[in-house]
Amino acid sequence: MPEQPRPEDIIERLLAEQRLSRRGFLRKAGATGLTFSGAAAFLAACGGVEGTATKTTAETVAVDHPKVPITQLNFSNWPLYIDKSVIKSFEKEYGGKVKYTEEINDNQEFFGKVRQQLQQGQAIGRDIVVLTDYMATRWIRNDYLTPIDKKNVPNAQNLVEGLRAPNFDPSRQYSLPWQSGMTAIGYNPKRTGGKLSSINDIFDPKFKGRVTMLADPHDSASLMILADGKKTADATIDDVLAAIDRIDEENRKGQIRRFTGNDYTTDLAKGNVWISVAYSGDVIQLQADNPELEFLIPDEGAVLWSDNMLMPQKAAHPYAAETMMNYVYEPEIAAKIAAYVNYVTPVIGAQEELAKTDPETAENELIFPSDETRAKLNPYPTLSPEDENRMLEAMQKVTGA
């Protein structure tokens, strides 16, 4: 039963060839994910924190993964989250065999799957797993990870400033962002009869029953906290619960049509709803067929989360994993991935690389946000395990399941 796939996942898979792709799945990552990394980290980084490689803190652990021939790499990621040619070129360049598995559909679900081995201190047979910030937090907190040997990942210096020192891993000892994404508002200005600018606009009674929200409180509650003029980075559980109360209130009024997974994309594309709490990458992909759709980064700000590459405890091929991390932090490779997945790229230089081949995508503010936009992006709130559970349970009451 725990293995039972959600209908949304299966459908997304069926629709995969339409390339609703990564974002759809990703949205689920975001849906379940927490990003601690956004603005707080951004500010911290602006405050003069150097690249992680040089940063020494009390928690820095000595790690040395000697260079060995690359034979095998077990890489678990979300579906449609990479341009597969990257895997091939990696194999060609470094040798060995990459077993790339698209097995992560949901942070919680994946954790449930490997939980027992992790808790017993065993290897889980994977060298890299990609998990959203809040789940990365959990793995770091419980010591389920192998630290990254930075000597093998010199390209980590290409990590964008804002993500270099997240609360959960201030020196990026254990994690390296794979892709980031924004949670904000996707809408159809033709239907709403004009542009929106604020998060609170979605509660205009004119749009009653025409709004969807993500069922995951990491996203929806964070957005409501921002709507309230607060910052998510220092939000407490009380702020989160108040935000969920507000969602409940609007839902009881009938303002919110549904709480969704990635399936809001269908409703939005078909015009059943006019406004969705949405992921940036989803909307970019929807725009291909529905050019009138827009993604709004509201005045109050938006949420920025990341999915992170992590090496589980007792990973069998740490050097290979680090080599892969280093490889995808080559701007050229990062550009290739960005062009395919349409998420926010954490790699400096990828934009310039992409400008050479695909200038239009390189200009996209939602894939390569400007500094001005980045300043408006906020991480998920930082919560203790108990509080996080309270949040999930409160939201479950609102969504009725």
């Binding site: 679900e109 449930g112 078909k270 399941a401």
Partner: protein, 294 residues
């Protein structure tokens, strides 16, 4: 020598029935008994996903399941019940027509009823999202006929969920009834009319009672899966239409609260067993066994 051969042959014959039972029993043990026991075990654990769960006879999950999710239990009962009745009302005339008037098109007509089953369950449900969409033909027509308010909708409503359930399980209602009707001895109906029964009387007193095993079987095959279904509610409904299946799904996968999820599933099973027992008691056990034979 010959005697020994005879003996072993006899023993073999005695053992044969048990040998035949082995695959079935093994199947039941591996895919039913063990999972159910495991589920009960999990439902009595306590802990958290991060700390791990440990077995300690913790019955409180059952309390939570019963006190917090009555609404979804009752709603599931209502939706599944309504869908079953609707499926019966739709399926009966349909297969009656096929069985009695189908003639040489019988096979084709029957195939048409079964055909949707060849398509994936999820895809069929997603198709209903398109059929019922706000600007779609169905909703527009209903609006112009005044059945639906000007700003009314079908998707994300109770109507859509029940319609989806009815549609998805219709073949399971239709086929057993068809089998029962096919088996009705036409001469009995003829005899009834010869004895001055009106067509209606003959239908009510001959055809329907003879079709009863099919109706009972069809109702169970529709009601039971509909009760536990979560796909229709999640794709065609909203937070106001969640069923017990949705709660179990989110307990397992979103909250990773395995004990409560297991307790809920176990209660659902128990609930179904009790309902079925009452149903069979009321309608008579005979019809169920006949249905099984049919």
């Amino acid at each position: 020598m010959a005697r020994r051969a005879l003996l072993t042959a006899r023993r073999r014959r005695q053992l044969l029935p048990y040998a035949i039972l082995v695959p079935g029993v093994a199947w039941l043990v591996v895919f039913f008994a063990i999972p159910v026991l495991n589920q009960v075990y999990v439902s009595l654990e306590s802990g958290t996903i991060e700390q791990g769960y440990a077995f300690d006879w913790n019955w409180s999950s059952y309390g939570t399941a019963l006190s917090d999710y009555q609404e979804q239990f009752l709603r599931s009962l209502f939706y599944a019940g309504t869908a079953t009745v609707l499926a019966l009302v739709i399926a009966f005339p349909l297969v009656y027509f096929v069985a009695f008037r189908g003639g040489r098109y019988k096979t084709v007509l029957l195939a048409l009823i079964v055909l949707p089953l060849f398509m994936n369950f999820l895809m069929r449900t997603v198709a209903w999202q398109t059929i019922l969409q706000d600007d779609g033909f169905v909703a527009d027509t209903m609006r112009s006929l005044g059945i639906l308010e000007e700003d009314g909708r079908l998707l994300a409503t109770r109507t859509a969920v029940i319609a989806g359930l009815t549609y998805n399980f219709l073949p399971f209602m239709a086929l057993p009834i068809y089998a029962a009707l096919e088996g009705v001895d036409r001469r009995l109906i003829e005899a009834a009319t010869d004895l001055y029964a009106t067509r209606w009387q003959a239908f009510r007193r001959i055809t329907v009672p003879l079709a009863m095993p099919g109706i009972v079987a069809g109702s169970l095959l529709t009601f039971i899966p509909a009760l536990g279904d979560y796909v229709n509610a999640s794709l065609l409904g909203s937070s106001r239409e969640t069923m017990i299946g949705n709660v179990i799904q989110s307990k397992f996968l979103v909250l990773t609260d395995y004990p409560t999820a297991a307790a809920l599933s176990f209660l659902l099973m128990l609930f179904i067993v009790v309902l079925v027992a009452i149903y069979i008691r009321v309608l008579g056990r005979r019809s169920l066994f006949e249905a099984a034979a049919a």
